[in-house]
């Protein structure tokens, strides 16, 4: 299988890579670009641990081919903090103890950021439904939802 040349922007940085036709964006991020923050939990779009945004749209990286990323802008968990400054969502997750093992945390943070960009004041129900594609087995979701709602409040106040 010959390799495809792909040019994208990842977390604001120009990025070029070669990949096989059947490699997913998740494969590329983790195995070629050393961006292991996005996790593989299922490779079938059922767990959300590989959540990234593509041209501003929340997607599962395991359901996008590397080749499809050509000409797009990708953001991953690695692009969420700015230098040493955490995003309010990241800080809220820490403050609320909204993570235990942490494997689902990158996916939740990317997904929650996408939610708040569209809806800065979601209800608890809206938050839960938006995040239904992110599975967590450790927390029972309680502290995660509290963290997202709290971050939303903080972000509205400092906007």
């Amino acid at each position: 299988m010959s390799q495809i040349h792909v040019k994208t922007i990842i977390n604001g940085d120009a990025s070029e890579f070669l990949c096989a036709a059947d490699e997913t964006l998740l494969d590329v991020l983790r195995d070629r670009l050393d961006l292991t923050g996005s996790k593989e939990g299922c490779a079938s779009g059922d767990c959300g641990a590989c959540s990234v945004t593509m041209d501003g749209r929340l997607v599962c990286a395991c359901l996008v081919l590397g080749a499809e990323a050509d000409g797009t802008e990708i953001t991953t968990i690695e692009g969420m903090a700015t230098g040493e400054n955490l995003h309010p969502l990241q800080q809220a997750f820490l403050d609320h103890a909204a993570l235990q093992c942490g494997i689902c945390t990158p996916g939740f943070l990317v997904a929650a950021k996408s939610l708040l960009e569209r809806n800065p004041d979601p209800t608890e129900e809206e938050t839960r439904y938006w995040l239904a594609g992110n599975l967590c087995r450790c927390t029972g979701y309680d502290k995660i939802v509290r963290a997202v709602l709290d971050a939303a409040k903080i972000m509205r106040e400092t906007a």
Binding site: M1, S2, I4, A20, A21, D22, T24, A43, S44, G45, D46, G48, S51, M54, R57, L58, V59, C60, C62, L63, V64, L65, A67, E68, D70, A111, S114, L115, Y129, W130, L131, A132, G133, N134
Partner: protein, 287 residues
């Protein structure tokens, strides 16, 4: 395996006609899963997303033409489309998670020909048509004639669906889609029901279409729904008869998602619930 991103429908058709083991990639939320599981081994993937018009929703003859690469999320963000066909838009919005919504398309959902496809019953109730491009030209076909068996469509070699057309929503008309799943999200429909109604200015049903999903190899039109509902205002007797009609038409299997008895029962229940929603929406537009 090769990856191609044609820029025109003609090029896409040529790739497909040339190679019977080529697969179309639109949203990819089904294709990539099968690829990874090793269920398919295509020689070529033809990505249609760079073809002009594939990603647009345009007004046409009072209705809407939805390109084959329009995602569920994009459909849900189109206010006019939602006002006209809330059932279709909601159905598209129920396919998978927010992440799936960011990619999945109703055309892909339709062409996978899965018996439980969420977008199909609502499209069928809406009398939607699919525009097909192929080696012998372009043709329009009712959505309900696309799936012919689980995993099989009526499309010929080299053909692809380039758009779905939703007709103009008549005044005093609306639709609804409901599905039953065991959790609140993320499941494949155990039963799906799309209802489209048109009322007269007094609130009496003058047109009705009811379609069921996940209860037969392909989507089912409940043929006598129109007869049962026309002339009524969805009184209890009409609803009872409607439930009965749905349950008896449903022809499901026992599988890991539901039993025959369960699916038949719930077909009736969902049909009534969806009909009531469509009715109150249609009435909301009564002048």
């Amino acid at each position: 395996m090769q990856f191609q991103s044609p820029l025109s429908v003609e090029d896409a058709v040529a790739f497909l006609a040339d190679d019977q083991n080529a697969r179309i990639l639109s949203g990819g939320t089904d294709l990539l899963v099968r690829l990874r599981l090793g269920h398919i081994a295509p020689s070529k993937i033809v990505d249609i997303k760079k073809i002009e018009g594939m990603r647009s929703i345009t007004r046409e003859d009072g209705g809407f033409r939805i390109g084959a690469a329009v995602s569920g999320a994009e459909m849900n963000e189109n206010h006019d489309l939602y006002l006209a066909w809330p059932g279709v838009v909601e159905a598209a919005g129920l396919i998978g998670s927010t992440q799936i919504q960011g990619r999945a398309t109703i055309v892909g959902n339709l062409c996978n020909a899965g018996p439980a496809a969420d977008s199909v019953p609502a499209l069928v109730a809406a009398s939607a048509t699919a525009r097909i491009a192929g080696p012998s030209g372009v043709r329009d076909v009712l959505v309900q004639d696309i799936p012919i068996a689980p995993g099989q469509t009526s499309l010929k070699i080299g053909e692809l669906v380039t758009s779905i057309f939703l007709p103009a929503q008549p005044v005093n008309g609306s639709d609804a889609y409901l599905r039953f799943i065991p959790r609140t999200e993320m499941d494949i429909a155990v039963v799906g029901c799309g209802v489209s109604l048109k009322l007269d200015s007094a609130g009496t049903v003058v047109q009705a279409r009811v379609a069921l999903g996940a209860v037969a190899p392909t989507v089912l039109l409940v043929e006598n729904a129109a007869e049962i509902l026309i002339g009524t205002q969805l009184d209890d007797d009409a609803l009872s008869a409607l439930a009965e009609a749905s349950s008896s038409v449903a022809n499901p299997i026992d599988d890991k998602r539901g039993t025959i008895a369960f699916r038949k029962d719930v077909s009736g229940v969902l049909t009534c619930r969806a009909a009531k929603i469509a009715y109150s929406r249609a009435k909301g537009t009564v002048k």
